[in-house]
């Protein structure tokens, strides 16, 4: 699957749930490419901005869309890696702040 196909596959469904792709299409393409890379690497689409353990059971919470997208978009208007944002974020009605890592430390891979 290439990024265009993934974009089409995700767009309508995610928008119906209130999550919109970042208006920065270059960043979106970069992130979709990274998701495809991670799918090939690990077998599942783990968040491009988080370190995967490589064990699906341990990475379930950061498989895109991650568990933290909902609270992050609610609080910041953007998910952690800024693939998904709110309409207000895209319109610039809310400031584009840095999204803190919400994932609990104990879930981070220690290797």
């Amino acid at each position: 699957m290439d990024t265009d196909a993934l974009y089409e596959k995700l767009k309508n469904f995610q928008e119906s749930k209130g999550y919109f792709f970042n208006k920065d299409s270059e960043k979106v393409n970069e992130l979709l490419e990274a998701l495809i890379t991670n799918k090939e690497r690990y077998g599942y689409m783990v968040c491009p901005c988080r370190l995967a353990s490589g064990e699906q059971k341990d990475d379930r919470d950061i498989i895109c869309p991650c568990e933290y997208r909902e609270p992050d978009v609610k609080e910041f208007g953007s998910c952690y890696c800024s693939l998904y944002v709110s309409i207000e974020w895209n319109k610039g009605e809310i400031s584009h702040e840095y999204v803190e890592e919400r994932r609990p430390l104990e879930k981070m891979p220690g290797f």
Binding site: A34, T37, P48, C49, R50, L51, C81, E101, L105, G110
Partner: protein, 84 residues
């Protein structure tokens, strides 16, 4: 003014990490980086210990500019640390 050492602990897939590297490139700042996701398991274990000391949240990018640690792509803090 001596140039500060700049190092990024990054992920090859992370867009914030790419933005940080891009900013350094655009400002002709010399830097080292380690794409932690590309390391083998043992190396990852060692590096994660180093990162945890710098950034207890173990998130990426973790950027070290001289003795200052910046977590995440925070352009204002990066520019201020480098006076650029």
């Amino acid at each position: 003014m001596t140039e500060k050492d700049v190092k990024i602990f990054s992920l090859s897939t992370c867009s914030h990490c790419k933005s940080s590297k891009k900013l350094f490139d655009e400002c002709s700042v010399q830097y080292d980086f380690i794409d932690v996701d590309l390391l083998d398991k043992e190396e990852k274990g060692l590096i994660m210990k180093d990162i945890k000391e710098l950034n207890p949240r173990c998130s990426f990018p973790t950027i070290v500019i001289g003795d200052k640690v910046i977590v995440g792509y925070r352009e204002d803090q990066i520019r201020e640390a480098l006076k650029i």
